[in-house]
C-alpha cells in the first residue's frame, strides 16, 4: 500500500489530540444532525482502523455510552421540565405539577412539543459528539503519553495527574473484588447498599496502593533535582508568580463588559513571564526523554486533516448558516450540505496516513490484570 504504512510505530500523541480537537471544533460549528452523525462515524472509523489492544483503547466505547447517556438525559429533562422553545406541534401533554408562586418560571410536566424535543436532540447530539471526539483521542493515544510532552518544570504535576487517572480504574476493580468478597461472606451482593458498604475498604486499599506506588517511584529516582543557584530559583519563583498574576488580571479585563485596553498587553506579559518561569524551572530537573515521539509526515497529515476540517467548517458555517443550524421552529428536515460533508470526510485521512500501531497479541493471562 502506501509507503507511509511501512513502519509500524506509535503516532505522536499530540497529532491524535490535534486531529480529535479539530473534529470537536468542527462539531461546535453546527447543530445539523446529519453532519454531527457523520463526524461520529468518521471518528469511529479512524479509531477502529488505528487503535491498539491496550486497555486505554477501550475508552472509546465508554465515551460512546457516555455521549448517549448525556443525550438521553437531556431529552428526559426536556420532557419533564419543558424547554424555552415554544412550539405549535404538541406531541403529548403530561399532567402538570402545581407549584407555589415563589417557584414561578419552573414547570414540571405539561405540554411537550416536537420543536422543543428537536432542539434538545440537536443540542444534545452536539455535546455527545464533543465527548466522542475526546474519547477517540483517548483511545488512539494514551493520555499518559500526552503528558510526557509537558515541559520539564511541569513534569511532576503531570505524573501526579497520571497517578490520579490510574486511581479510577483501580477503584473500579477494587469495588468489584470487594463485592465478590461480600458475597463470599453470605451478604447480599446486589443493590446500592452493597456498593456503599465497600466504600471504606476500597478507599483504604486505594490509599495503600498509592503509598506503595509513591515509595516505588521515590526509590526509582522520581523527583531528583539538579542543584541550581539560589538567585535562579528566586527568579523562577518571581517570574512564575508575576506571570500568573498578569494572566488573572488579563482574563478579568478581557472577559469584563467593557473590554479594557490594558488587557491584551497584560496577557502578553503574563504569557511571557510564565513561559520564562517554566523554562528556568526546567533547569532544576535532571530528566531526559527515552525515544521522544517523532513528528514526521504522518503527524502533519493527521493533525492537518483534523484542523483543516475545523477551518473549512467554520468558514462554510459563516457563509451558509441555514444549512448548519436547521430550523426547529418550524421543524424542517435537515439537509446535508455537500461541501461540509466532504470537508468532514477529509478527517478520514489518518486511517490511511497514520502508521499502524505495533500489534499486541491477546492478553496472556486474565488473573494478573487486576492484581
Amino acid at each position: 500500500m502506501s509507503p507511509l504504512r511501512q513502519n509500524s510505530r506509535q503516532l505522536h500523541p499530540g497529532a491524535w489530540w490535534l486531529w480529535a480537537l479539530g473534529l470537536a471544533a468542527a462539531a461546535t460549528r453546527t447543530s445539523n444532525p446529519l453532519l454531527l452523525l457523520l463526524i461520529i462515524a468518521v471518528a469511529g472509523y479512524v479509531v477502529a482502523a488505528r487503535r491498539t489492544e491496550a486497555p486505554w483503547s477501550r475508552s472509546y466505547g465508554t465515551f460512546l455510552r457516555l455521549g448517549l447517556a448525556v443525550l438521553l438525559l437531556r431529552l428526559l429533562f426536556t420532557v419533564l421540565l419543558g424547554s424555552p422553545i415554544a412550539g405549535t406541534h404538541t406531541l403529548l401533554t403530561l399532567p402538570q405539577l402545581p407549584l407555589p408562586t415563589w417557584a414561578q418560571g419552573v414547570r414540571i410536566g405539561g405540554r411537550v412539543s416536537l420543536e422543543s424535543l428537536l432542539f434538545t436532540l440537536y443540542d444534545g447530539l452536539r455535546l455527545a459528539t464533543l465527548l466522542i471526539c475526546v474519547g477517540a483521542a483517548n483511545a488512539l493515544a494514551s493520555p499518559a503519553r500526552l503528558l510526557r510532552l509537558l515541559p520539564g518544570a511541569l513534569y511532576e504535576v503531570g505524573v501526579a495527574v497520571v497517578v490520579a487517572m490510574s486511581f479510577a480504574p483501580n477503584l473500579v476493580a477494587d469495588v468489584g473484588r470487594l463485592r465478590a468478597a461480600r458475597r463470599l461472606r453470605g451478604r447480599p451482593d446486589r443493590g446500592i447498599g452493597s456498593v456503599l458498604s465497600v466504600g471504606l475498604p476500597v478507599l483504604e486499599s486505594a490509599l495503600e496502593h498509592s503509598v506503595a506506588l509513591a515509595a516505588a517511584m521515590d526509590s526509582r529516582g522520581f523527583g531528583r533535582t539538579a542543584p541550581v543557584p539560589r538567585a535562579l530559583a528566586r527568579a523562577t519563583a518571581a517570574l512564575t508568580l508575576l506571570g500568573l498574576l498578569a494572566l488573572c488580571a488579563a482574563a478579568y479585563g478581557l472577559l469584563g463588559t467593557d473590554g479594557a485596553s490594558w488587557a491584551p498587553p497584560a496577557l502578553l506579559l503574563g504569557v511571557a513571564a510564565s513561559a520564562t518561569g517554566l523554562a528556568l524551572g526546567g533547569r532544576r530537573t535532571v530528566r531526559t526523554r527515552y525515544r521522544p515521539d517523532r513528528w514526521a509526515l504522518p503527524e502533519w497529515l493527521t493533525a492537518g486533516s483534523g484542523l483543516a476540517t475545523a477551518a473549512v467548517l467554520s468558514l462554510l458555517a459563516t457563509r451558509d448558516p441555514a444549512a448548519f443550524s436547521p430550523s426547529v421552529v418550524p421543524p424542517t428536515a435537515p439537509e446535508l450540505p455537500l461541501a461540509a460533508a466532504l470537508a468532514i470526510l477529509l478527517a478520514l485521512l489518518p486511517a490511511l496516513a497514520a502508521p499502524r500501531p505495533p500489534g499486541f497479541r491477546l492478553p496472556a493471562t486474565r488473573k494478573d490484570r487486576n492484581p
Binding site: S142, L184, M217, D218, G221, V286, F360
Partner: protein, 537 residues
C-alpha cells in the same frame, strides 16, 4: 558493599523494635539470601538498604547503614536510585508507566541518562531478561512471571550495584520462578551485582545463595555466613535441608543434586520399608462440574472441564500462572457464571443461589485474605461472621481459638501476621460450616511453621468431613496435605489422580524429597521420618 553498623529500627507505638543490633557487612558481588520466620523484620531490613526505612515509612533508625560508601541517613531513596535497585513484594505497585519499554526506561529518565545510552541499555535489558517480544505490551496484560521480570529489568537499566528483592518468586508458579532466579543468578555471575533477597520459599532459592543472612527472631542476634552452616541453626528449613538434618548428612546439602550424592545409604535403608500409599479417604460427592466453560472477558479461562469433589478429601489444584485456577474456584463459589456446562454444589447452582444459602455449602478464602475482612477488630470480625451466617454467637471465636490459639480480641486484622490473617479468614469462612472449602494460594507469605500449622488445620478439617480444594504453586504443600492433585493448563484439566502419582510424574511438580529419593515414591520429610523411626528435627 552494604554495611550495617549497630542498626536498630523502632516504630512509634510498637512495643518492641522492628530490628535491633544488626552489625554486619554484605560483600560485593554476592547473592545474599535473607531468611527468618515471619515478622522478624526482613522487609524492614530490606527497606533500610535503599533508605525507604526510615525516610518513607517513619520510625527511628539508630546506627548507620552505608551502601557503596553512601550513608542512608543523608541520602534519600531518590538519591540512592542509581546505586540500589529495589523490587518490593507487590509488583503491581512498582509500575509507573503503562508499557514494558517505557517501564524499563523510566528509572533512567529520572536519573537523566543520555538518550543514546538509554536506548542501548533498554535493548540490552530486553535481551538479558528475555523480554524482547513483549516490548510493546501493556503491563496489565503480562503474566505473573513476566511482570516480575519486567520489574527486575526496570531497576536493572540504571545499572545498580545492589539489587534488593523482596519475595520475588512467592506469587509465581515453579516454572516462572526458575526463570526469574536464572536471571538473578546471571546478574550476580556476569555483572557482579550484589543481590540481597528475602524469600520464604527457601527450597527454590537456597541453592543459588552465596551467603545466608539469618534473622532468628526471639532477640537472638543475626547471623551471616555460608548457607550450609547458617541453615544448620535456622528454625526455617527447606525440605532438602530437613532431610539432611534427619539423615545426619554433613555438610548439609542445599540442592537436590548435593542431596542425591549423599542419599545412597538412606535410599538403601528405606528400600526395606517402601512407602505405603494410603488410599485416599472416600466420601460423598459434594460438588460437581460438568463440561464447565467459564469466560473472563472474551477468553475462555476454564474449558470443558468435568470434575467431582468428595467429602473428606483434600484436593490440590496446580498449574502455571493464568491457567484458570482462580476462575475455577470462583465458578465453584458462584462468583463467575458458567458460559457453558453446569456447576452444582450441594444441590445449589452457585451463581444463582442466594449468598446466605450458598455460604453453608461453599466457602472461599481469596488470594488476599484481607478482602474478606472488614471489621476493625478480631472479635468484631468473628461476631460479624456469626451474624452473616446465623451461627450461634461465640462459635466463630471458639473456632478461631482452636485454629490459632491466643489471638487478642482487640487486634486490628491488618496488624496480624500473614499466617494469623489467613487463619482468621479461614475461621470466618468456616463459621457457616460449608461442606466445600476453597483456598486460593493460601501459602503466599507464610513461613514454614505457619505452613505446617495450615497443613495440620486442613488435615483436621478434612477428617471432620469437609471437602477441600486448594489452588497452589507450592508443590511441597500439595505433597504434604493433598490426597488428590489436579493440574490445569490453559483452562483444561491435564492431570487428575492421587497426589503421589501426579506430582511424581512431572519434574516441575515433584517435591524435593521425591527428587532426592527417586525412584521410590517418598514425598515429604515427615514420611521419611516416620519410616526410619525418628522424630522430625
Amino acid at each position: 558493599m552494604i554495611t550495617f553498623e549497630q542498626v536498630s529500627v523502632h516504630y512509634p507505638d510498637a512495643p518492641a523494635p522492628a530490628l535491633s543490633g544488626l552489625d554486619l557487612t554484605v560483600p560485593e558481588g554476592e547473592l545474599c539470601l535473607l531468611v527468618g520466620p515471619s515478622g522478624v523484620g526482613k522487609s524492614t531490613l530490606l527497606g533500610t538498604v535503599n533508605g525507604l526505612v526510615p525516610h518513607f515509612t517513619g520510625g527511628v533508625l539508630h546506627g548507620r547503614v552505608t551502601v557503596g560508601g553512601r550513608d542512608t541517613r543523608d541520602h534519600r531513596p531518590r538519591e540512592l536510585a542509581d546505586l540500589v535497585g529495589t523490587v518490593g513484594q507487590d509488583v503491581g505497585a512498582h509500575f509507573v508507566t503503562d508499557t514494558v519499554e517505557d517501564e524499563l526506561a523510566y528509572g533512567m529518565e529520572s536519573l537523566g541518562v543520555a538518550p543514546a545510552v538509554m536506548r542501548r541499555r533498554v535493548e540490552e535489558t530486553l535481551d538479558l531478561l528475555g523480554l524482547a517480544e513483549l516490548r510493546d505490551r501493556p503491563l496489565g496484560t503480562l503474566s505473573g512471571g513476566q511482570r516480575q521480570r519486567v520489574a527486575i529489568g526496570s531497576v536493572l537499566t540504571v545499572h545498580p550495584k545492589v539489587l534488593v528483592l523482596d519475595e520475588p518468586t512467592s506469587a509465581l508458579d515453579p516454572g516462572a520462578a526458575e526463570e526469574v532466579l536464572a536471571v538473578v543468578q546471571r546478574l550476580v555471575h556476569d555483572l557482579g551485582t550484589t543481590v540481597l533477597m528475602a524469600e520464604h520459599r527457601l527450597e527454590r532459592v537456597v541453592q543459588y545463595a552465596d551467603q545466608v543472612l539469618l534473622l532468628p527472631g526471639d532477640g537472638r542476634p543475626a547471623v551471616l555466613g555460608e548457607p550450609a552452616a547458617v541453615l544448620a541453626q535456622s528454625p526455617v528449613n527447606p525440605p532438602v535441608v530437613g532431610l539432611g538434618k534427619l539423615a545426619g548428612w554433613h555438610p548439609l546439602p542445599l540442592s537436590v543434586r548435593d542431596a542425591r550424592r549423599l542419599a545412597a545409604p538412606l535410599r538403601g535403608r528405606l528400600a526395606q520399608t517402601p512407602p505405603v500409599a494410603a488410599p485416599p479417604p472416600t466420601g460423598t460427592p459434594v460438588a460437581e462440574a460438568a463440561r464447565l466453560t467459564v469466560r473472563r472477558g472474551s477468553i475462555p479461562a476454564v474449558r470443558d472441564l468435568s470434575l467431582t469433589l468428595y467429602a473428606r478429601q483434600v484436593t490440590a489444584l496446580m498449574g502455571r500462572n493464568g491457567a484458570g485456577k482462580s476462575t475455577l474456584l470462583g465458578a465453584l463459589a458462584g462468583l463467575h457464571a458458567p458460559a457453558n456446562g453446569s456447576v452444582r454444589v450441594g444441590g445449589l447452582t452457585p451463581h444463582r443461589a442466594r449468598p446466605q444459602e450458598l455460604v453453608r455449602q461453599v466457602g472461599l478464602v481469596p488470594q488476599d485474605p484481607r478482602d474478606l475482612l472488614c471489621a476493625a477488630t478480631v472479635a468484631a470480625e468473628c461476631a460479624a461472621a456469626e451474624q452473616d451466617c446465623g451461627a450461634t454467637p461465640g462459635s466463630c471465636r471458639a473456632l478461631l481459638e482452636r485454629l490459632a490459639p491466643g489471638l487478642a480480641d482487640d487486634t486490628h486484622p491488618r496488624d496480624l501476621s500473614e499466617g494469623q490473617r489467613l487463619t482468621l479468614a479461614l475461621a470466618v469462612v468456616l463459621a457457616a460450616r460449608p461442606a466445600l472449602l476453597l483456598l486460593d494460594e493460601p501459602t503466599r507469605g507464610l513461613d514454614y511453621p505457619a505452613k505446617q500449622r495450615l497443613v495440620e488445620i486442613l488435615t483436621a478439617l478434612a477428617a471432620d468431613g469437609h471437602a477441600i480444594l486448594l489452588a497452589t504453586h507450592d508443590v511441597e504443600l500439595a505433597a504434604e496435605v493433598a490426597h488428590r492433585t489436579l493440574v490445569l493448563a490453559d483452562g483444561e484439566l491435564v492431570a487428575d489422580g492421587p497426589s503421589a502419582e501426579v506430582v511424581l510424574a512431572s519434574p516441575v511438580y515433584a517435591p524435593q524429597v521425591a527428587k532426592v529419593l527417586a525412584p521410590e515414591p517418598w514425598l515429604t520429610v515427615r514420611q521419611v521420618a516416620d519410616a526410619i523411626g525418628h522424630p522430625r528435627r
